[in-house]
Symmetry: C2
Subunit: 570 residues, 2 copies
């Protein structure tokens, strides 16, 4: 199926949700002129449609392979990655000091959106590199920055995040990897990490692993963790990759989807010859990790947008082509394109509306990153508050839309050849990694509601109220406010029991706000009319649906703890 | 993962939802004594746990294979199928005249529930045989019945349903396969059928294909269709399989899941040597097909129950075993089993509640089959009304629960080895086949709401109201009644646009009724306490959630048709 970059929609969202013109008016992001934005969207669209999308199915059917020479990508990936690097697409959001273009994070978001809509598994590779760049920009020493950032900025070298261990999944504090000082300022790294996306591959001459480990005498839990920079190949004096650094790929996972992305088990220091450098302060690992992960969470939310975009395009193309059955209630008994059937239209409209909502939410958060980077405290708080929404709700929507995409295809959707099934399989990891969506909900009620003494939450509610006109949206906002107030003082169990439905309600309220705003400025051309219809559907049907969660979001934990856990097996 | 048959739950639902004692008090089903029911549930549980469940993963990873000798099942399947046949498990619901046990359809439902919870793809084989048996019992000639039914009843021979053709998916009337009279009362069959589950395999000496085809001069559309019996091997004079009947497997589909079930493309009469017999009257095919499909729809709804049961057992076992993170708000900083975390409990409780709700709905419908078979007109109408609910909502719940099953497993859920992903992949076909869930919703608003002049719908609403006590449930029933009334006179587009959300609301109202009833008689043992908690969760959270669909179920189709279809691609 041909992939068409969603350029018009992206530009519209950048204009009206991100308000990119405000950013372009600042000194820091003055490069983000209209022309540059258009050129970026168009250029990356060409790369995505021309080179990345055609590899999407190969990525799934052939997949990354573990061999005794390391992980080998399917044919075509190395070249397509090279063209990404040479096109400068990795440099968009990186500071100019390190060879980047210094454009807003929101623009980089649009670039990754397009690449991932074309090929989500592949786009995870540059997405992870961005995390490594962020960590080094914020916490690296000048020497580390000078040695590594220029190569990471272009994507010539790629980055990974090494947090998880078999006994330490969501509980990062339980990790056991060790770093022992070697006396020369360097550290000997030892341990096994799992679920390392693009932990190895054959598209770059070096891979920069960012690894969480414990130093000698470090306290238990997250306070005892430090972050280390561990290249696959140590750098020679001239800064080029030299000796192998004893980082071995033990295996790659056999996953339900995302086959283009090798999920590695990495073993560090099997031969006691793995050397790392501390990033930031010793025991400062968890702070550095959060720098790396916060934007990574937005980028996973963005994967929800990507998969929703791809699945919607596939379903729309199919529905505009497939002829089946006459239209009910029509005197004409000729078979029609299935897009004419009301329930198929309902599914397509829902796919469009939810895809647009997810994109608005994630791009909105991305716009806050840029404002926060300029020292805007309110934007920083807003970003903190909406990050769990963007990650969890964005990925939930990706899954919902991918499932609808299969349904629109009927039996053909279940057969792998159409590609609808791949979106569905690829999407299912996104509510899990970078902090499960349950953890996002816990973050929302446990940390973000209380941010600035509740001020961050109150400000979001106030902003929505100030702009929203739709009554059902305002009713949802009222409900969210009441729940948020109650949860702020609720006990931990009640808070957490209500967290997920509350997160969904607050996400829909935020999306409804951003959708309504877009509807108000949609033009009368084809794009504008589709936008207006999607907005209306969202406000008419999806906003009221979220109100149905009010009972769950106001329930106590009592029903969940009324039984002993073993009774679940009764 | 060890599979445990849900015997206690099944018995409870048979007692309180099906009210099996009422059936056992009739002459026809007097064999369904307490002892027999218990023996059946226990016996099939042993077969399922001991032989079928261990093959579930092989079915997925090895899968049925197309070879030039036909379709070959993975090792172990032929023996496990033989033990199913020899145990008499196929004969449960078949009339005694044909070697069956004449037990209620509801008991057969419990048998298939257990087998499919252990191995859904495998259980599809006997499920399809049941469809062939039903068609022959109702529409076959005495000779056909005598020759075929005894072999189908035991499962010694298996059955298939051949409806779909490449150009005729949901639109059965568009099919092109032909049947030409041979002059001796037999017909020459020619055509290609797709999506034929267990269209070929190596577990039985013969396969009985029921094939829809057009006879010469037949009118266009569904009125021109006849049903034919086409064995893989023609019967010799002694009734045993003889010559090959020119039914060839062209290929099998490469599907996302359900790999144990070969989905065949079958070519009939490539060499003009495929002979079939008419079942029932010429041009009576669509009526016979509905006989075959109606209960097949319930059996697909039952697959939703099966996959929900399996996924729930897997997630509960994992959550009772996996230790991760301390409990929030607890002074104790020791890591706990994840079942202790509120959001994990929420997911498990939802899985339990939705699995129980799906089972109640499908078993309830099965109980109406038995009453209808005894000539109860009201039960016949009730069955007609709840069949689309059981099929569509049962399968929707299977998908929801399977997705939650992955989420409970976290990263391990996305790795194929745990089996959580298989449930998710297997489940996804069920909202599609046997009439997509959209078609079920169309059936509900287009045919079933008007049944008996609206009397069938009014009777269901009245029955729920007469028994329900929960206020939120009663509010949902009120809403359903109002929507049903409006839709009865709405135009076709508005009806269909609202059909899916209405189907969900009415399904939840029906499930809520049956759940509340169970809660009222749950004991104080472990099973009873789990039941009571699941019922409370269902009424507290899931019933109000369905009310959130009221806006969509009362919306007109206008928003969907405000744009030209091409704008979906804008």
């Amino acid at each position: 199926m041909a992939f068409t970059p969603a350029t018009t929609e992206q530009r519209f969202v950048l204009d009206h949700v991100v308000r990119i013109a405000e950013l372009a008016n600042t000194e820091r992001y003055s490069a983000a002129s209209d022309d540059v934005v258009d050129a970026v969207l168009e250029g990356v669209g060409q790369l995505a449609a021309g080179e990345w999308a055609p590899l999407n199915r190969t990525g799934d059917t052939v997949g990354a392979k573990w061999t005794d020479r390391g992980v080998v990508m399917p044919d075509g990936f190395a070249q397509a990655y090279k063209d990404y690097v040479e096109g400068g697409w990795g440099t968009i959001g990186v500071e100019e000091e390190w060879g980047g273009q210094g454009l807003p994070f929101a623009i980089q978001t649009a670039v990754l959106d397009t690449l991932g809509s074309a090929n989500m598994g592949f786009a995870l590779c540059p997405t992870l590199t961005v995390g490594a760049i962020e960590a080094l920009q914020h916490h690296g020493s000048p020497e580390q920055q000078a040695l590594y950032l220029p190569h990471l900025a272009t994507g010539e070298w790629t980055g990974t995040m090494n947090l998880t261990e078999p006994q330490a999944g969501s509980d990062v504090g339980a990790l056991r990897a060790t770093a022992t000082p070697l006396g020369d300022g360097k550290w000997s790294i030892k341990g096994t990490k799992i679920y390392i996306s693009f932990g190895d591959h054959d598209m770059a001459p070096n891979i920069v692993h960012l690894v969480l480990a414990r130093t000698p005498g470090a306290p238990a839990g997250t306070k005892g963790i430090s972050l280390f920079l561990v290249p696959k190949y140590r750098l020679k004096d001239d800064g080029t990759p030299g000796d192998f650094n004893d980082v071995r790929v033990v295996s790659i996972e056999h996953k339900m989807g995302l086959h283009a992305s090798p999920t590695c088990v990495l073993s560090f220091g099997d031969n006691d010859d793995c050397i790392g450098e501390l990033i930031g302060a010793e025991l400062g690992g968890i702070r550095a990790m959060f720098t790396m992960m916060n934007n990574a969470r937005l980028n996973v939310g963005l994967q929800g947008v990507q998969v929703a975009e791809g699945a919607t395009q596939g379903a729309v193309a199919y529905a505009l082509d497939r002829v089946q059955s006459a239209r009910a209630g029509s005197p004409n008994k000729e078979s029609v394109k299935i897009v004419e059937h009301p329930d198929v239209r309902r599914m397509l409209m829902r796919m469009k509306a939810q895809t647009q909502a997810a994109r608005a939410l994630v791009y909105y958060a991305a716009g806050q990153v840029d404002r926060a980077n300029m020292g805007d405290h309110a934007a920083r708080n807003r970003l903190e508050l909406v990050t769990p929404l963007a990650k969890a709700h964005g990925t939930d929507l990706g899954n919902e839309v991918a499932s609808l995409g299969i349904q629109v295809h009927g039996g053909m959707g279940y057969v792998e050849e159409t590609g609808a099934a791949q979106y569905f399989r690829d999407a299912r990891i996104t509510p899990i990694y970078e902090g499960t969506n349950g953890i996002q909900a816990a973050d929302l009620v446990g940390r973000k509601l209380g941010l600035d003494n509740g001020g961050a939450f109150a400000a979001l509610i106030a902003d929505i109220r100030a702009e929203a006109k739709d009554e059902r949206l305002l009713a949802l906002v009222d409900a969210c406010e009441a729940i948020g107030r109650r949860l702020a003082t609720a006990d931990a169990d009640d808070k957490l029991a209500a967290s997920y439905p509350f997160l969904t309600m607050l996400s829909v309220a935020t999306c409804g706000w951003l959708m309504e705003r877009q509807g108000g400025v949609a033009g009368t051309d084809d794009f504008g009319r589709m936008k207006a219809a999607a907005v209306r559907f969202y406000l008419d049907q999806i906003v009221p649906e979220a109100m149905g969660l009010n009972a769950a979001a106001t329930a106590s934990a009592a029903v969940l703890y009324a039984i002993e856990p073993e009774l679940f097996a009764a």
